[in-house]
Amino acid sequence: MNASLAFTALLPEHILLAGIVALLVIEIVSDEAKGELPVAIISVAFAAIAAAGLASGGNTLEPFPGQFILTPGIAAAKAVVLALAIPVLLVSRGDFPRGPYYPLLLSSLYGICLVASSSSFLTMFLGIEIMSVPVYVLVLLAYRRPESAEAALKYLVLSGTASAMFLMGASLIFGSTGSLSVGAFAQALASNTLLSQSALVMVVSAFFLKAAIVPFHGWAPDAYEAASVPVTAYMATLVKAGVLFAALRVFGEAGLAQPLAGILAFLPIASIVWGNLAAMRQAGLRRMIAYSSIAHAGYLFLALLGEGPGRFEAVAFYLAAYGATNILAFAALPNAKDDESRDRLEDLKGLFHRAPLAAILIGIAMLSLAGIPPFPGFAGKFLIFKNVMAAGHVWIAVAGLVASYLGIYFYLRVIQFMFMAPDAQPAGHRPASGMAIGAGLLCLAFTVAIAVAPGWFLARL
């Protein structure tokens, strides 16, 4: 093993680790810690820069062959995830002025980076756990309502079940192929023995549970609602990205056979339909985003039906567009006297009259999430359905597109509330903090960049 290679290839992870250690030290030595947010932001920003640098290097690095791999595309995806974590941190100040929030969030990010690079089931499992365990605490950390504890427990149990299923599936694959490498999954895809097929179903179900695909989605609305705004934004975008990276690693570029193709077609489309339908009836923003994220997870898994290098591109692009616009919406959300009032959609009425910039930012986010061109959410969907169709699944792509139609109304409703209703003037509402608006503008800049030059971005994936 080459020590310098292990240093460079894992540089983003190392920087994150240094940040976590620094945050813990600050926590220990100082009672009135103030430097946590800057330290967290600086370490994430440097990690993102390191990842971007590795991506532009253009080399595939394997410091631990068979365990950890870094292709330029993976490095670029890491850079995007880390860059999107910066606005999440920026909006956290109001909810978490200090405390264990920052090291926990960075640990979870570390897990996501590890998952994205894993090339064996062991590394992947490690990554998934490092990613998920801090989130159980993060959900509970903003303990504002009694339901928070219940939701966190629900999330813990179900997510633990998913981990168990993943392990079971991995051991079945090991049993049938004698290998723990992610390549063994593709081998199992090709064979049609009962053992390998049940292994596939186990692993895929674990991903579905972690990413909240119908019918494994029950925990998501509760957990999203119970968590605080920055944690919800983090769970809905970056944690989901981590799960998808895991799926991308195991699926590789291999084509799909039955029964997996059927499962991967049916359940994601059911997710799109159900997520979009259920989102229409929500009165709270976070529950609405939860159901919308169930639908978006549907598109993302549908993308696995595509084949070849386009699969990674489509998923990574979609995650970037979806992540940026979702965080954008949360960043621009006005502050309120309590959590419930902040969450109420009705209280957004007339936001344009109170805070035009925030309303425009949220409006752009909603249109992009709905997949209306020219916003990048459209380009993401386009890419996914193009690949699915090119892989020969014409009718599945058409069904997915038509199902996506259901998702337009409830996003429009938010715009309707903000722009077309008289000012609700809810008590105790304050505009979002300057830092949060800054975070929103960061996301907007990224959104505009990938909308104007998607080709530039795709070439780097």
Partner: protein, 518 residues
């Protein structure tokens, strides 16, 4: 080259205007109005220069720009003028300043956002007409929805939320189907040639299998038919028109509806010629149904705006019939009718807006005898009514007349060739639409302008200078097109021939088709 730069300026000027409005400090409403109006005027003059320089004899695109945009997907920023879009681009640019000026007195809240949206929709409409790349076309096509959604939803009437959601959801459904068809079409083209391309010119050569053509034509067709709108997909239009502010109605009737018929002519039908030839009777039947059904519904409305909204459905039915006739005269008539309806309906909606600002009701029964109260208004109203009816010397006559001739000729040819009399029957039915049209419009004008004097919230003043200037401009252009249609017809004739040939293939090339202009 200079022309290409000028075309890009025409296209991007409204976008720049929108950005400029965004940085104007709040409260400077007068400045925003002036900025929008003069930007639109400049845009019109540039567009008019392009129109004047457009050479119908030259083949291919003119003033074209084509630069790769998303190279991986074969998407390019390709815009240009051809016979298909030249008239509609000019129409859009012409209506821009009129719409802006027409809204000066009506829009008093959130002025900045309103004119930003007027700019945005102008940009999107021009982009849709000018785009020569399917991806770009789709982007602009969808981008039109957002400003219109806000325009109806923010500045609309009482039921504006319902109307605007209905408008958006109807159109978006068609768009989703179109998107699916676009992806399939491009994929097919890619499979055949190995190079991914969204350029119209490449896709027209895609040789889509006949079986698939029907699905694709269905998807494109539903999307365009919703936009036109054709009966039975028309129900969003009356609601949208009634609830929209005047400027919204004018843009909707003046330009937006033509997107549907333009889409049919430029893309929907030529891309799938085999399916189109089979679907011609259906198209003709739906066009005729729209003419007659729209006219019948207009006859029984009690809301002024609804009368004009249904008359739009009826008038656009002629366009569809003309396109379905595949006869050169019919096609040219269809193109003429698009422009004519854009001018006439825009004028009528502006006039309804003017009276609504004074009297605050759209109920027809509340009015009467306006001719004595506001004589200048009434004169303009009568002129526009007659243009809508299709009185010779107005632009409405040229369009409808050519369409009917084309439809009769097509029907007659089919009968001569031993075919069915179906098309001829459609032509005859469509001709009754002209009578119905005269009936509802004249009856409307009679109840509105004559009879016992009834003026809600009176007394009211007659037209002001700004309003007169707007209407004089419109009326002059309507007469100009009615008296001297040759210029416009000549500019669009190559496109009509091109369209005919793309669909009918070699069969039509032999037929003795004569252009009007020659």
């Amino acid at each position: 080259m200079a022309d290409a730069t000028m075309l890009n300026v025409v296209l991007w000027l409204p976008f720049a205007g929108m950005l400029a409005i965004a940085v104007v400090p709040a409260g400077r409403d007068g400045f925003v109005r002036g900025l929008t109006f003069w930007t639109m005027v400049v845009q019109f003059f540039l567009a008019a220069m392009l129109y004047a320089r457009f050479d119908p004899a030259a083949a291919g695109l003119q003033a074209a720009t084509n630069v790769p945009w998303i190279a991986d997907w074969g998407v390019s920023y390709a815009v240009g003028l051809d016979g298909y879009n030249i008239l509609l681009v000019l129409l859009t640019a012409f209506l821009g300043p009129l719409v802006t000026a027409g809204a000066f007195s009506a829009i008093t809240k959130q002025v900045k956002l309103f004119y930003a949206m007027v700019f945005l929709i102008q940009f999107a409409m021009l982009g849709t007409f000018l785009a020569q790349d399917l991806f770009l076309f789709y982007l602009f096509w969808e981008a039109m929805l957002i400003p219109m959604f806000l325009m109806i939803g923010i500045w609309g009437g009482e039921r504006r939320i319902y109307a605007t959601l209905k408008f958006f959801l109807y159109t978006a459904f068609g768009s989703i189907l179109m998107l699916a068809a676009i992806i399939w079409l491009v994929w097919w083209q890619w499979k055949g040639t190995g190079a991914l391309s969204f350029a119209f010119a490449d896709l027209l050569k895609a040789n889509v299998p006949v079986g698939a053509q029907f699905w694709l034509l269905g998807a494109f067709g539903i999307s365009f038919a919703i936009k036109v709108p054709m009966v039975p997909l028309h129900t969003w239009l009356p609601d949208a028109h009634v609830e929209a502010p005047t400027a919204g109605s004018v843009i909707l009737a003046g330009v937006l509806l033509k997107m549907g018929t333009y889409g049919f002519m430029k893309l929907g039908l030529p891309l799938f010629p085999d399916a189109t030839r089979a679907a011609v009777p259906l198209l003709a039947a739906l066009g005729t149904l729209s003419i007659v059904y729209g006219a019948c519904l207009a006859l029984v409305q009690t809301d002024i705006k609804k009368i004009i909204a249904y008359s739009s459905i009826s008038h656009l039915g002629y366009v569809v019939l003309g396109l379905a006739s595949l006869d050169l005269l019919g096609i040219q008539g269809a193109m003429m009718q698009m422009v004519s309806h854009g001018l006439v309906a825009a004028g009528l909606f502006l006039m309804v807006g003017m009276i609504y600002e004074r009297c605050h009701t759209r109920e027809l029964a509340a009015y009467g005898g306006l001719a004595r109260v506001v004589p200048v208004y009434s004169v303009f109203f009568v002129i526009l009514t007659l243009a809508s009816v299709g009185l010779p010397t107005t632009s409405g006559f040229t369009g409808e007349f050519l369409v009917l001739i084309g439809a009769f000729a097509a029907g007659w040819r089919e009968l001569q060739a031993g075919g069915s009399a179906f098309f001829l029957a459609m032509a005859i039915l469509a001709a009754t639409g002209v009578v119905l049209g005269a009936l509802y419009m004249l009856w409307f004008a009679q109840r509105f302008l004559f009879g016992a004097e009834k003026v809600p919230h009176g007394p009211i003043t007659d037209l002001g200078g700004r309003e007169k200037a707007i209407l004089i401009t419109l009326v002059a252009s309507i007469f100009w097109l009615g008296l001297f249609p040759e210029g416009a017809l000549r500019k669009s004739e190559p496109a009509a021939r091109d369209y005919q040939q793309l669909i009918a293939g070699k069969a039509a090339a032999k037929a003795p088709a004569k252009g009007v202009a020659r």
